[in-house]
Subunit: 127 residues, 2 copies
Amino acid sequence: MRTAGLRPTRQRIALADLLFAAGDRHVSAEALHEEAQAAGFSVSLATVYNTLHQFTEAGMLRIVQVEGARTHFDTNVSDHHHFFIEDENLVFDIPSGRVEVKNLPEPPEGTEIANVDIVVRLRRKVR
Amino acid sequence: MRTAGLRPTRQRIALADLLFAAGDRHVSAEALHEEAQAAGFSVSLATVYNTLHQFTEAGMLRIVQVEGARTHFDTNVSDHHHFFIEDENLVFDIPSGRVEVKNLPEPPEGTEIANVDIVVRLRRKVR
DNA sequence: CTGTGTGCAAACTCTTTGCATAAGT
DNA sequence: ACTTATGCAAAGAGTTTGCACACAG
């Protein structure tokens, strides 16, 4: 954290604990905020946003934009793709190395590919 | 339009004209609203939103969610994917039939794939 | 005429910002 | 002490909604 030029404040440490304790996670700012409250320490929502963005700039998180409005932050910063269950606001990784994209067209004149995002939208089976 | 159970009102007709006159288009509500104003007939932004959603439900448009916040509506309702130039808010189709996804993993127990969206994010080459 | 559509403004959701206070080093 | 972070509340962007008036059938 220090190497990223970020002061290890209480709030940042607490949020980092929540984020990186378990394996890969996908959180929205609001979800993380609630989680922090539930865990008993108070952080303002604004600070959660700030912190998430600072972590993102430091390369510790990446942003996954799977739906309008809400932004999801992913603790897995390697190159991979996502499942998304619409009705539940749930994002999770597609096991990496599995998906392969073939025949990507050349990008138009004067542009280059920044990255390729694949989102597989899921729905619950109604039985 | 009538077959979709939608009354062909002035506003709807005018918006449909703008949308379907030329080939495939990708518009945001705001962009279409401005375009209507520029074309000399007044439609309220709320009506543009309503109309776009009604057209979407009628299967005449599809929603492309490539970035946070803004929603893009696509007049090409066939199965295809998109290029997106971030800094210009520009969405356009990847020539269909070209891209192919291999090795898609099985969706988790109890879910099924609703659809697969591929967004190729582009950036302008700086020369 | 009757019912659906439109326009306006207010409400809403998610996110960002400004500024005084608090906390790290 | 000096500087950077935090918290709050207000502002902002995009979208939706409620309700009176207008218009298509």
